[in-house]
Symmetry: D2
C-alpha cells in the first residue's frame, strides 16, 4: 500500500498548500463560506464524488446564529467579486454553506465519514512583517475575517483526502462520506447537519483538528473531554426617558443587564466537574442623558458533562428572567450555538492508534487519548449521533508548530501537517477492513 | 381665663415631671406599652373620663409589626414585675395597648381630639455620667428600650392635659377625646386605631411632638410635609447545602438578598419630589461552610407624596420578586408599618397661631408652618381621616433644648416644655368656640 | 421705536425661516459645526460686526468631549461638500467652532451680550410623512445629526438680531456682543469660551432657548434652577483570556463596569435637594468566549445645587475606583462636559419683564420666573462669570408649540417664535439705558 | 499477635461506647473542649503516658477563630458544672484545649503519631424520637453544640488505642505519640499545634475519620485531595445616619457587603481544578430607618491545590477592599481558619493496605486511595509538616453506616466502627517494624 499512497501524497502536497493559502486569503466567517463552498463543491464534483448540497445537508430551522438576510446578501456579492463559482452558488445562497460528498465503492463494508470545517473567525488578521501570511501575500483580504484556527488547512486536507481516496478507490470498501461543515466557530453548523441526517448511515466517524497545543508532528487518536456548551444572546428591552427630567418613567435595561451579568458569574460551582460561564459582550444604552432602554449580552455556558452545562444554563435562565423582573423590562433569549460533551469510542481509537503507528512513520508521536477539558467543538453532535446509532466515533488532533495560539491574530501553522494528515486519514480508510469489533 | 388656667398648670407641673421620669425609667417599646397603658388608664379613669380600651380602639388585623406571642407574653410578665396595674392589664394583653378617653361636656360643640404616643425606641440608653437621666436615676431599666424620641413627655402631657381640662370642664363645649397611641416608632399603631374608627366623629384634631430640631420654647402650628412611608420585612428562603461538597444543590438566599439590596438602593429618583429607600438590616445565613438558606431584610420606602412613596414601593416589589427568581428562592413580604403624607388644615393652623400668640406668652416664638420633608409620623392617618370627613387637623411641634438628636442614646429634653404644651393645648380647647369656618 | 423696529422685524422674518431651515437641513453636531460657523461668520462680517473666531474665543485645553482628529477631519470635508465657506474654515478647523461678534456703538454704556448655541444632537431625524421638516424637504441630510432641540432656530435668531441691531445702531449705547457657541448638548462648549474670557467685559447677559415646554407664544424672563451636572466617560481596561481555557487569567472589565453601574445608581439621595445619576451607555467586551478586557461607561451626575452635584460626583469617583480594585482592572475617567447651577439676577429679570410686557405685544404671556429643576444648560457658566464680575445675567425661554418633546426624532417648532424673539431681544438692547440698578 | 490483641479489643469495646456517649452528651464546640480535655488527660495520665498539655502543644498566637475571653470564661464555668476535672483544667484554660500523650518504648524505632480531634459543631442536636442519641438519652445537653461529625467517636478511639497500646507496650518499638486536637471544624486547631512543634519528631503519621460516605465497615488507607481552604471574617465599618433625614451623611456598610458578596461569588473558575467560595453569613445594620454602619461576613475559599485556593483568596482580598472603597467604609479581615491540600505518602498507604488486609478481618473492605475533592481537614498541616521532614503521612477513613450526613442535626454512626478502628491502628503500630522504605 505504502508506495502508491506515498506517491499520491507527494503529488498532492503542493496543491494542499495552494488550496490552504487561497482559503486563507479569502477567509469567510460563519455562514458566509460562499466562495469556499463553491470551490470545494466544484473540485469534488470534478473528482467524481456524488454531492449533496445546501438545504439537503443543512436543516434550515436548526441553524443558529444566522446573520441577517442583508448581511448574507452582501457577503454573497462579496464572494462573487472574489471568484466564487456562480454555477454552484445558488445551492449555498442564504446561509446553507454545507457539502457532503459520497464515494460508493460498490463493495460491501461499513460507511466511513470524515468531517472538516471551513469557517474563519470574526477577527482582523495581523498585517505585520513578522506574520508569514502577510509577508508571503496570503493574509486575509476580508476585514474582520481570519483563519486563525486552521480551518483553511482542514478544508485543504478534506480536498486532498478526496483526491487520494479517489486514486485508491479500487482498494476501498463500503462507502466514504466527506463532510464539509460551515460555522463551527460559534458551534452553530454541526447541529443542523446532524438534523438533516447526514451521519445517520455512518458506522465510523472521524473529525479532525490541527494544532490545539499538541506535540508538533504528532497524532492524538482520541481527544477527550470536550466541554459541552450553550451559546446565546440576551436582549433586554425597557423604556427610554430623559435621565434628568423624568428618571422615574424609565425602565432601565442596562441595570437589568448589569444585575444579570453579576448573577451569571455568581452561578455556583458544580461538585461534579468543571463548569464555565461568560458574558463576553454587554452593549447597553444610547445616550448619556437617557435611561437606557436596550441591552444586549452575549453569553456562553460550559460544562464538563452535558448535565453540568445544563445545570449552568438553567441557572442562567432564572437569573436572566429575574433580572428582567427586577427592572420591569422585557427580555428575549436567542440561541446562538451549542456543542455537547463527547468521548471517543475506545475500540475505534485503539484501531487508529495501531494503524497510525504502523503505517504512518511521518508521525513523530502517536498518543491514544488526550484529556483537556476547556474547549468545545460541535463535532460532538456528529460523534454522539453516530455512537447512538451503534457506530464508532473519534476526534483526531494533528499537532503542528504554531506561530501563535488558536484565535490569535498572528496564528499560523506548519503546512507540512496537511500531507501527514491526508496520509493518516487515507491509511485509516484503506485499512478499515481490519477494524473488527467483537 | 388665664389666671385660673395658670394656677392649674402650676399645680400639675411637678406631676408632669414625675410621670415623665417614671415612663422614661420603665421605657416600653412598640406593642409592649403594658405598664404605661395601665397607669394612663387608671389615671384617666380616676379623673372621670369614660374609657375605650384595647380591642375597642385597635383593630386587631390592621396591626403591623406585632411581636411574637411569646415576646408579648414575656413583656407582659416584665410589666407586672415593674408595677403594671393588674386590674387594667387584661384590656391590653396580646398587643392592644391603646386608650381613648372621652369627656362629654354636655354642651353643643365640635369634637376635639388630641393624640399622644406612648412607645419607646428599641435602643439601649446611655448609662454615662454626662447623661442626665442616668445621673438623676431615671434612665431606662429595660434593655434595648429607651425613650429617645420624647414620647414619655408626650404621654405625660396627655395626662396633664386631662387634669387641666377636667378642672375647666364647665368652660368647655362639645366633646374632648384624648388618644393615647402605641407603636408610633415603626409607624404601626395609628392605622389600626383609625381602622377602629376612633376619629370618625372628630371635627378638630391635634397631634403633638416635642423637639424635632425646632426653636427651643417655640411652637410650630402646622408641621408640613411628612414623608409618606412603607415599612416591611422581606424573608428569602432557599436551600442549605455544604458549600464544599455540593454547592450546586443550594438555593442561595444571601445572594438573593444582596442582589435585592443593590437593586433597591438603585431605584430611580422621582422628578416629582423627594424619595427615600433603605435596607436597614440584612441578616443571612447560618454557618461559614453552608450555602445560606435564609435571609431577612428590613426595608423602608419614603416619598414626599403618597404617590412617590407608592412608586418606590412598587419598584421595590419588582426587585424583591426578581431577586428571588434569580436565585430560585421563595420570598415573603411582611408589612411592618406605614404612614402617609399629610398637610395641616390652613384655617385650623391660623386659629391655633392666633390663640397661641394671644394666650400663651410662655411661648418664645410661634411659627405658622414648618416645612421639613425628611421624617414620617403615622399621626398622618388620623389627620387624613379627619380631613376626609370634613374636619380640620394639624400637627404641633413644641421646640425644646435637646441634649442629643432624636433617636440618639443620649437624647434628653428640657422638661419645662411639658407645662407650656399642656397650657397651649388647654387654651385651644377653651377657645374652640371662637373657631369659625365659613 | 416700535414702528421702525416692527419694520425691521418684518423684513427679516422670511430670512429667519430660510436660515433656520438651512441649518436644520445641514445639521452639525457638537464640535462639527463647520458649515454653520462659516455661514454665521460671513453674515456677521458682511453686516460690519468685528469678529473674534476659533482659538481666540475657545480655550483649546478647556474643551471637553472633543471628537477624534480623524472624525474632525472627516466632518470638515463633509462640511466643505455641503457648502461651508472655505475662506472662513481655517479659523474653525480642528474643533474651534465658536464666534463672538462685537458692535461698538461709540457711546458710553454697559456691555450687553447675547448667547445662542449652534449644535445639533447626535440623533437620526424622522423621515416620515407626519414630520414637517421631511415633508417640506429640510430634514437633516446628515446621519446621526438632527436639530431636535431648536438650536437651528437659536442661530437664526442670533443672525436676525445682528441684522436688526445694526439697523438701529444709532439708537444703541455701549457695546453689544453676540456669542455663537458650539457644543451645548454635551455641556462642553461654554466652559472653554468662558475660559477664553469672552464675557469678562460683559455687564448684562442673556442666553435664550425656545420651547422647553413653556407656554406657546409666551416669555419666561428668568429660568430658574438649572441642575448642575458633570458628564464623564469611564474606561476599564483588564486582561482578555479564553473563557473556557484560562478564565482565571482574565481581568474582567465588564464585571467591573457592571459592579460600578449598580453602585452608581445606588448613590444615596441627598436631603438637600434633587440629584440625578445615569449610566447612559455601557459597552463592554469583544467576543462571547473571551473574558472581557474593555468597558466604556458614559455617565452623568446632576444636582439641584453645585454642592449636591459635587456630592454625587465624589461618590461616583469612589465607586468607579472601588469597582476597578474589585476586579483588578485599570480605569480612566475622561471629563466630557459640565454645567453649573445658576439663578438669574432678580433686577435684570424685573427689567426684562417690564420691557417685554410694555413693548412686545406679540408675546401671549410674560412670566417672571419659572422653576424646573430637571434640565441643565452650560449657559450657566457665562451667567456665573458675569455675576461674579458684578454683572447681571438671565436665561430667557420663548415658548413655542412643539410637534414633539425636545430630543425627540420628530421635534419641530412654530417658526413664528423666531421673529418674536428677535424683537424682544432688540427691545431689551434698545431700552437698556433705562436699566438702573441702585 | 491476634489473639491477645483481640482480647484487648474486646475488653475495651463497652468502654469505647461509654466514652463516646459521654462526649456526645456533653458536646463542646471549638476551643471550648474543657470537660473533654480534662477527662482525656486524666485517662492518659492514669495509663502512664507522659503528657504535654495546653500552651506546650498549642502556640498561642497561631490560634485562629478564638472566641472572646468572656465566652471562654463562661464555657469553662459550664464545663465545671458538667464534671470537668478541676485538677487538669488550669492547663486548658483560655482556649488551649490540646493534649499530646507519649509512650517511649525504650526500643529503637521510628516515632509513630496518631491524631484525633475532639470538637463538636455549633449546631443544635435533633431532639426527636427517630434520633437514637435522643431516645437513648445521650443527645447533647448543650445548646448549639453537637457531635454531628463523629469527633466524639474519634476521641473515644484515641483513648481506646491508648489502652490497647499500653497493654502491648513490650511488643512496640520506637515512640508513640497520641495527639488530641481541638477546633478542627473551623480548621483552626491543627496549625497552632504544628507551630508548637508537636510533629517535628514524627516519622510516621496517621489521622483518622469515621463515616464521610465511605463503604460501611471498610477502610480507606489514603484519603486524597483534601481541598485547601482559608476561612476568614470581614467586618465593614461605615457611618450611621437617619435614612430619612440625612441619607447623604451615611457610609453604607450593608451596601459594601452586598457588593462584596456578589463579587466574591463571581470570582472566576480556575482551569487548574476545583475551587469554592462561600459567604456563609452576612449580618448588617441595626434599625430599619438607619443607614447601616456595620456589616459582618463569614467567608471561606477552597481549592483543589494550595495554589488554586490562594488564587481565590487573593481575588477575594481585592473584592473586599474594592467594595470598601466603593462605599467609603473601613474594613477589617480576621483569619478564622485554614487547611492545606495534601496527598498521602504512597509507600505508607501501601504498608497500611497490606497490614489491614492481612491482620484485620473485621474490615469488610480495604481500599487504597479515595479521591473526593470537596471537603477540607486541617490534619493536612500535620501531614505536610511530617512529609516535609522526610516522614510518611496518611489519612484513614473508617466507613460506617450513618443515620444522616455529616453536619446534619440527626447525624449518628454505627458504634462498632470504633473497635475496628482501634484494632486497625494497633495493628499498624505493632507491625511497624515491617515498614521498610528503600
Amino acid at each position: 500500500m505504502n508506495n502508491l499512497l506515498n506517491e499520491s501524497i507527494q503529488q498532492i502536497t503542493e496543491q494542499l498548500k495552494h488550496w490552504r493559502r487561497d482559503f486563507h486569503h479569502f477567509a469567510e466567517s460563519s455562514w458566509f463560506e460562499f466562495r469556499t463552498a463553491t470551490i470545494v463543491a466544484d473540485e469534488l464534483h470534478r473528482l467524481g464524488y456524488s454531492l449533496q448540497l445546501g438545504k439537503d445537508v443543512i436543516k434550515a430551522d436548526a441553524r443558529m446564529g444566522l446573520p441577517s438576510e442583508q448581511a448574507l446578501h452582501e457577503q454573497e456579492q462579496r464572494a462573487i467579486q472574489q471568484g466564487a463559482l456562480k454555477a454552484w452558488l445558488p445551492h449555498f445562497s442564504g446561509g446553507f454553506t454545507g457539502i457532503v460528498a459520497t464515494l460508493e465503492t460498490g463493495k460491501p463494508g461499513p460507511t466511513l465519514a470524515f468531517r472538516v470545517d471551513m469557517d474563519a473567525l470574526a477577527l482582523n488578521e495581523a498585517q505585520t512583517p513578522e506574520h508569514r501570511p502577510y509577508v508571503e501575500g496570503f493574509s486575509s483580504c476580508n476585514a474582520h475575517m481570519m483563519h486563525a484556527c486552521g480551518h483553511d488547512g482542514h478544508t485543504a486536507i478534506g480536498l486532498g483526502l478526496a483526491h487520494v481516496l479517489k486514486q485508491h478507490e479500487c482498494q476501498l470498501t463500503g462507502k466514504i462520506k466527506l463532510i464539509f461543515q460551515p460555522a463551527e466557530e460559534g458551534a452553530q453548523g454541526a447541529k443542523p447537519m446532524v438534523a438533516a441526517g447526514v451521519v445517520d448511515d455512518v458506522d465510523c466517524f472521524i473529525a479532525i483538528h490541527i494544532g490545539l497545543g499538541n506535540s508538533p508532528g504528532g497524532l492524538v487518536c482520541g481527544k477527550d473531554n470536550f466541554l459541552a456548551t450553550t451559546k446565546f444572546d440576551v436582549i433586554y428591552r425597557g423604556v427610554a426617558t430623559h435621565a434628568g427630567a423624568k428618571p422615574e418613567e424609565g425602565k432601565n435595561a442596562l441595570l437589568a443587564a448589569a444585575q444579570a451579568a453579576l448573577g451569571l458569574y455568581a452561578i455556583p460551582r458544580h461538585s461534579g466537574g468543571s463548569s464555565r460561564i461568560n458574558v463576553g459582550v454587554l452593549q447597553a444604552g444610547s445616550d448619556r442623558n437617557v435611561i437606557p432602554a436596550h441591552a444586549l449580552m452575549k453569553v456562553e455556558t460550559r460544562g464538563e458533562t452535558n448535565e453540568i452545562n445544563a445545570f449552568v444554563y438553567q441557572q442562567a435562565l432564572n437569573i436572566i428572567e429575574g433580572a428582567a423582573k427586577m427592572q420591569g423590562v422585557e427580555y428575549e433569549l436567542i440561541p446562538m450555538g451549542s456543542a455537547q460533551n463527547s468521548q471517543p469510542s475506545p475500540v475505534w481509537v485503539d484501531f487508529i492508534y495501531q494503524q497510525a503507528g504502523q503505517h504512518v512513520p511521518e508521525l513523530l508521536s502517536v498518543v491514544k487519548r488526550h484529556k483537556l477539558s476547556s474547549v468545545s467543538d460541535d463535532a460532538t453532535y456528529f460523534m454522539e449521533r453516530v455512537k447512538a446509532n451503534g457506530g464508532y466515533a473519534t476526534f483526531l488532533v494533528f499537532g503542528s508548530e504554531l506561530s501563535a495560539g488558536n484565535h490569535n491574530e498572528r496564528f499560523d501553522f506548519d503546512e507540512n501537517v496537511m500531507a501527514t494528515a491526508v496520509k493518516t486519514l487515507a491509511v485509516i480508510a484503506l485499512q478499515l477492513p481490519d477494524f473488527k469489533v467483537d
